[in-house]
Amino acid sequence: MAKKKTEKIVYGVIWFVTYLVVFMVGYIIFDIVIKGLPAISWGFLTQMPAKSGSQGGILPAIVGTFYLVIGTVAIALPLGIASAIYLNEYSKPSTFTRMIRLGISTLAGVPSIVFGLFGMGLFVLALGFGKSILAGSLTLACMVLPTIIVASEEALKAVPDSMREGSLALGATKWQTIYKNVLPYALPGMLTGSILGIGRAAGETAPIIFTVAATLLPRLPRSIFDQVMALPYHLYMLATQMPNQTTIKPMQYGTAFVLLVIVLGVDVVAIIFRSRLRRKNKW
């Protein structure tokens, strides 16, 4: 009987620990939603910041993050999809393929602040782009590339070999087969998988500090060589530079809320899209 009692306690502890994690996740999201939502107004979303960000809105930070995400996608998506096509469709087991795979997994483990230093050195200084949307997007693209490659490869693997064999048997070349008979089926999966990585780019701070982020720039960017404000960096500034002003709290929570909505919103859209896709593409 004693054994049964210990088992019950162990089960209880396991349950408690698991739901403690769940509680923490819920608490973080709940706290930011409850305190951030009241701070959101039309003015907050569409006005320029005033008085070093302690008043006014966050429009330039929203626009800046938007531009950075677009730039990152435009660079990393084609590159990542092309890499995945090579790895899944063309590559044979060789030292070179292993090198590529090692490169991808190494890249996935590089700390974000190191990407920031690298981006500053290569894009900002050596290539002379200056602190700009271009330099920031390139840096973020290096960071999300591994995620996009892995996601795209998964999507390619999900296309059955019979689709390839049928096309090849009819006399199509390898690239014709891939382009006409594999990619159309893999593309939606590639995109949804990649979106999950791109949500990360929208929320990163460390890689953009030295490559694009402006502390306070109450105007909209004019070209890709312009600096921009970005939501994560704006939140960092608001949270650390004037933490003791009570009037700043709604600004902080409002910014955190908008950032959270963008990052999680993108993920939720991707997940819904993916589950629809799974139902449609059955073979």
Binding site: L79, G109, I113, G199, E204, T240, L264
Partner: protein, 289 residues
């Protein structure tokens, strides 16, 4: 004609997939190039000191020991918290939870991994910092412990996700054999299933530590950033990542301070690279990674 096109496409794709290697090589090359001159003047020995005062008016000092111990202390504490919590939650999700419960729990906990680190840092600043301050009766809640708590939160989803994959990929015949021999469900979990999944669990922990040691924003916001050599969790510390983030923006290009920061980055990259290789080794058994 057609043949040329095929070849060109293949070559183009090969080029694209080589960019990953190229970027990795460029990162190493650039960090080494910027760090190297420091080895000649003022010499590597000046990195070994225990005083980090790169902007001192009297005498600049670039001892990285306080930064190393800062990172080590915060990472070690975060790992000690995150391992049991992460592994236990993975066991619950994979072996104990009902199927419907599992379908909800896993994506919900993975939400935590999707939260930007600056949001977690902000949450830490408004919730954990005052909490640590009042619980331990300190003058400030900006301590190594606060940073470790946040980092544990960030490592937990990685540990849960990969451990859960490893635990659920243990063949059910193992468990059935154990149950048939009269072991209880709990005995089966702890004596059969978890040991069988051990290398996946180890990989998840290594990847989790990799994430923790490279994490920048959350520690920068809540650890107080005092560069002192200490192993006391209730004092303020300054990690390697936070040092780079806080100082690189104001440093003079090419100065000793600038080059010292690149040494910090190089050491950081070396540590994460080694952890990554270890994790890949452990994972190759499962072909998950």
């Amino acid at each position: 004609m057609q043949k040329w096109k095929e070849k060109a496409v293949k070559l183009g794709l090969l080029g694209a997939s080589s960019t990953s290697i190229l970027i990795v090589l460029l990162i190493f090359f650039y960090l080494i190039k910027e760090a190297l001159p420091f080895a000649l003047d003022p010499g590597l020995s000046s990195l070994s000191g225990s005083l980090w005062a790169p902007t001192s008016m009297l005498k600049e000092s670039f001892g990285i020991l306080p930064l190393l111990t800062g990172s080590l202390l915060v990472t070690a504490m975060a790992t000690i918290i995150a391992i049991p919590v992460g592994v236990i939650a993975a066991i619950y999700i994979s072996e104990i939870a009902r199927p419907a419960e599992r379908e909800v729990l896993k994506p919900f906990i993975e939400l935590l991994a999707a939260l930007p680190s600056v949001v977690i840092g902000f949450f830490g600043l408004v919730v954990f910092v005052p909490l640590v301050k009042s619980v331990f009766g300190l003058s400030t809640g900006l301590t190594a412990l606060t940073g470790a708590l946040l980092l544990a939160l960030m490592a937990i989803p990685t540990i849960i996700s990969i451990s859960e994959d490893a635990i659920s990929s243990v063949p059910s015949s193992y468990k059935q054999a154990s149950l048939a021999l009269g072991a209880s469900k709990l005995e089966t979990i702890f004596k059969i299933t978890v040991p069988a999944a051990l290398s996946g669990i180890v990989a998840s922990i290594t990847l989790g530590i990799g994430r923790v040691i490279g994490e920048t924003m959350a520690v920068l916001m809540v650890t107080g950033n005092a560069a002192v050599v200490t192993m006391n969790p209730l004092t303020s510390v300054r990690t390697m990542t936070a040092t780079i983030a806080a100082e690189m923006g104001e440093v003079a290009f090419g100065s000793h301070h600038y080059r010292a920061l690149f040494w910090v980055a190089l050491i950081l990259l070396g540590i994460t690279f080694a952890l990554n290789i270890l994790a890949q080794k452990a994972l190759s058994k499962y072909k998950l990674g």
